[in-house]
């Protein structure tokens, strides 16, 4: 008889709740899962969670391909010639640089950039309690921000609705990966990953070493062509055989990017901050300087590139306790949609009502009868009125036009309500006779009749 996988339940375990006893039996039949398998962000994992990549890997294969092809052509066509005519160190240097570039690239792509794990339900509930929700009557909840003082400077921390936590300073939510990343620089499609706190130094060494590599290859190729043309061989053939074209186009952009990032490293800025101009000196006074800068280029460089290596916070290979269901995502989704849906719908109707109310107040000068005897829905189309009083009327008609555009949908949908409507937004009074002649009713209110106003 074969070994039965099912084992007898330990009676002592029954002292605990029956649910966990079931899971104990289930545990033996089911292998324990790792945390990367239930990770809520859009990332891909390899080698059982050891390597992480963004969901949209972008053009990483293209980047690798370009580098490998360029170097391959270089080693195949230029090196033999140059080894003969110059020195044997050329392929050695080329090889070392190539290796450095590939290792840095792979390290950048497959390292966790500094992803912040999402808040547990208890944490999220605690934060929600602390946030002031007194503005429930307005149609749009105010953006949740918290202000902190960092090095005597006010910095606003935003609340992340996806991760359910206040983002630490310099953290940003990447929409492509659906994660909050610490010290978020940018999402690089060439590398297929976000660039953040943990992999910025790898990214920087990748682009710097790539600049050296492309400059080196470019220089060698030019030398090769020069030497060949001097010895009388065909120039065209030499160019065709060389990786010159690829190098020529990429070298300027890579050099530019290296220069830009060297500037960022020296001033302890991220691409995100630089683009948004968060600490730009153009704004206000000197108080809006970068609070994270050490005001010394060398210190900034050392801190960014040689600082301590922070650990990965997402614990990809940790084992999940089997009695836990899928984390934050499910409970938070249940909480959020009703809130969002209600507010959206409310927002739509409220904002349209506000717009109509404003238009009404613009049209009716104070002191004029604001209501008609019957609750009529009257929408006027802006007819060009020849009356001179329409000098004031024209502006009103212009004000009416956008309203007329929004009116018909309302009139159609609120047919029944409008006939007996007491909502001031739907009642328009036109004290001047000129305008009253120009009015007519849109929609199905014709059976009610049109009451000319005195």
């Amino acid at each position: 008889m074969k070994n039965c996988e099912y084992q007898q339940i330990d009676p002592r375990a029954l002292a605990v709740s029956p649910a966990s006893a079931e899971s104990d039996a289930g545990k033996r039949a089911q292998r324990p899962r790792r945390k990367w398998e239930v990770f809520p962000g859009k990332n891909r994992f390899f080698f059982d969670g050891r390597l992480i990549l963004a969901g949209q890997s972008g053009v990483l294969p293209l980047t690798l391909g370009l580098i490998v092809v360029t170097c391959g052509l270089f080693f195949a066509f230029d090196c033999p010639f140059l080894v003969e005519h110059l020195t044997v160190f050329i392929p050695v240097i080329g090889g070392v640089l190539f290796l450095f570039v590939i290792l840095s690239l792979l390290r950048t792509s497959f390292t966790d950039p500094g992803i912040l794990p999402r808040a547990t339900p208890d944490e999220a509930a605690d934060i929600e309690k602390q946030i002031d929700t007194s503005g429930s009557s307005t149609y749009r909840p105010p953006p949740r921000t918290k202000e902190v003082l960092i090095n005597q400077q006010v910095v606003k921390l935003k609340y992340c609705f996806t991760c359910k936590t206040f983002r630490p300073p310099r953290t940003s939510h990447c929409s492509l990966c659906d994660n909050c990343v610490e010290r978020f620089d940018h999402h690089c499609p060439w590398v297929g990953n976000c660039v953040g706190k943990r992999n910025y130094r790898f990214f920087y060494s990748f682009i710097v070493s790539l600049s050296f590599l492309t400059s080196f290859i470019f220089g060698c190729v030019i030398t090769h062509i020069t030497l060949r043309s001097q010895s009388g061989q065909s120039l065209i053939q030499a160019i065709q055989e060389s990786p010159l074209v690829i190098c020529f186009f990429s070298i300027w952009s890579i050099l530019g990017l290296s220069g830009f990032h060297t500037y960022l490293v020296a001033s302890n800025l991220t691409t995100n901050e630089d683009i948004k101009g968060s600490w730009s000196s153009k704004r206000a006074s000197e108080e809006s300087g970068n609070p994270y800068s050490y005001n010394s280029i060398i210190t900034n460089c050392c801190v960014t590139l040689c600082g301590p290596m922070p650990p990965s916070l997402i614990d990809r290979r940790g084992l999940l306790p089997l009695d836990e269901t899928l984390p934050v995502a499910s409970t938070s989704e249940i909480e959020l949609p009703p809130f969002v849906a209600k507010n959206d719908a409310h927002m739509c109707t409220q904002s349209t009502k506000d717009a109509l109310e404003r238009a009404v107040h613009e049209l009716c000068p104070p002191g004029s009868p604001k209501t008609t005897p019957l609750g009529l829905e009257v929408c006027s189309r802006a007819a060009p009125s020849p009356e001179p009083s329409a000098a004031a009327g024209c502006s009103r008609q212009q004000a009416l036009q956008p309203m007329a555009a929004s009116c018909p949908p309302f009139s159609r949908s609120n047919k029944r309500d409008s006939l007996h409507s007491t909502n001031p937004a739907f009642r328009l009074a036109f004290p001047s006779p000129s305008l009253s002649r120009a009015t007519f009713i849109i929609g199905n209110a014709t059976d009610v009749g049109f009451l000319p106003l005195p």
Binding site: L103, E182, F202, P310, P311
Partner: protein, 134 residues
Amino acid sequence: MRQQAAIAAKVFIQRDYTNGTVCQFQTKFPSELETRIDKQQFEETVRTLNNLYAEAEKLGSQSYIEGCMACLTAYTIFLCMETHYEKVLKKIAKYIQEQNEKIYAPRGLLLTDPIERGLRVIEVTIFEDRSLTR
């Protein structure tokens, strides 16, 4: 037979960003713990944790040497060596376990290592006070 104690509440000690992005926690004593533990004791724990995290992220010659070595070896050195930060994290885990055993568990409290919460909060779980029923 171990009985599972019921969780009465959870208190979260948030991060303190006044010194920048370094990992520091607020030392303010939460009101929910007033009946359970001495204020001085708790603040001492948090202060020690803050000092340990500051040590992990310290910018000194050791971290620079480690960084430069890593750069020169194309970061392959991290595959064999443990970083300074990881060593300090182990120290922190041991310290928290010690504190839990000696001080917090007898009072019906439990500290969760912040690394398990992404270094965002120190989670203090308050268990129901069973001493009254015994």
